[in-house]
Symmetry: C2
Subunit: 239 residues, 2 copies
């Protein structure tokens, strides 16, 4: 047994670090959807070789945050309304699966982790910023997915959740009613905590579908002409 509470100083390889930096920039909205990414410029900004940023970009392609057009360039992924529908549908399906599995195998420690995440959400809903609320929301969902005990499910969920974040942060969706958020998540976690597998599955699907439908409705309402990333604004804030 190692020394308690002493994590190894994880040294990321350069390309991983670069990928992390780019990922943050994209998910925070600093890099707009559809923005062009050139290897040379990134290499200069990051003080590293082009091959290294190339590796980083390929990682992000695998995550669905960047698209590669051969011999032409790399773009920050631009999501159409069709894409948001696809992502919402997929997310609902995966969360429903996770909820069912989680309810089947939840134990004392699992309950604690869920309740802890739920408390964080409550706190954020009362006095936190919008960003904190979004973070707590995603944190709770991630906790539920982890509860399923299915590592691959978690991986695929992360991929999708990250892409969902793409348009959540970019469009700064405001939550109408803070207390509603808490209520909804209480309904979501209750059957899981009770070990009610089918109830959890139903609740999770309803929860995800509703939030997905709301996002799609919000984007439709905006009626922005960026059906396919036509806007392609440049970088909002420099790296």
């Amino acid at each position: 047994m190692g020394i308690e509470g002493l994590a190894p100083p994880q040294k990321l390889s350069l390309d991983r670090a670069a990928a992390a930096s780019l990922r943050d920039a994209i998910l925070s909205g600093a890099l707009a959807q559809g923005a062009r990414l050139t290897e040379t410029r990134l290499a200069a900004q990051f003080n590293m070789s082009r091959g290294t940023v190339r590796a980083a970009l390929q990682r992000l392609v695998a995550e669905g945050l960047v698209t590669q057009r051969p011999y032409s360039g790399w773009d920050v992924a631009a999501l159409s309304i069709q894409d948001t529908w696809e992502l919402s549908t997929l997310r609902a399906s995966l969360e429903a699966l996770a909820a069912r599995l989680g309810a089947e195998r939840i134990d004392a420690e699992g309950r604690r982790s869920v309740e802890r995440a739920f408390d964080e959400l409550r706190i954020a809903a009362e006095g936190g910023s919008a960003d904190e609320l979004v973070a707590a929301d995603m944190g709770l969902h991630r906790t539920l997915v982890a509860l399923s005990g299915n590592r691959r499910l978690g991986e695929h969920y992360d991929l999708i959740a990250n892409q969902v974040r793409l348009y959540i942060t970019s469009s700064t969706i405001v939550v109408k009613n803070m207390s509603t958020v808490v209520e909804r998540h209480r309904d979501l976690i209750e059957p899981i905590l009770n070990g009610d597998a089918v109830g959890a599955e139903v609740a999770a699907k309803a929860h995800s579908m509703r939030s997905g439908a709301e996002i799609v409705a919000f984007l439709r309402e905006q009626d922005r002409p960026s059906k396919n990333g036509v806007t392609a604004q440049e970088v909002r804030t420099p790296l």
Copy 2:
């Protein structure tokens, strides 16, 4: 509108070509699970630079067919029984979703494509080889997924289906009863062709879960000690 069934002569970039070659070798079983892959040797065999094979390997990592151990090496993915369970569960969920969506929006052309794929399966079941049967089976399922109209669902499904292929081909699972295969798939496609969404979802989940359970049972029966890729046999046939 282009000429029917005439795809442009896609010249893959070198790293894509290398990735394709490696993918084939892995999925065909020529490269055993857990086999070590060294950049230098592959570069020599493929007559290309190390950086290029590196890019190819990274693609395969994203597909879940290869694992990367930093500063240490690349391995062909080795799946434990836990992994097969995870993959089966995920696949079942995605196929159920696809079946429901497909049943909701099927049209005349969709019906034709499904029936065509089903015919191929029937033919393969009667007079084809085992490989052909597996290919037709996967083809039918892929057709159903495409029917959902959800591109991302297709992408995630492909990732999982490829990993499933990893242990299907490696363990050469033999089908006991050819006619059973056809029967089962008839039950699967019938509600979809009828536009029965909930029936399709139920049938698809049942179909996938059963096949997954059978595979897990088969692997358990084999009781091979490769719980975590400990076997790590070398390359069976040279590239």
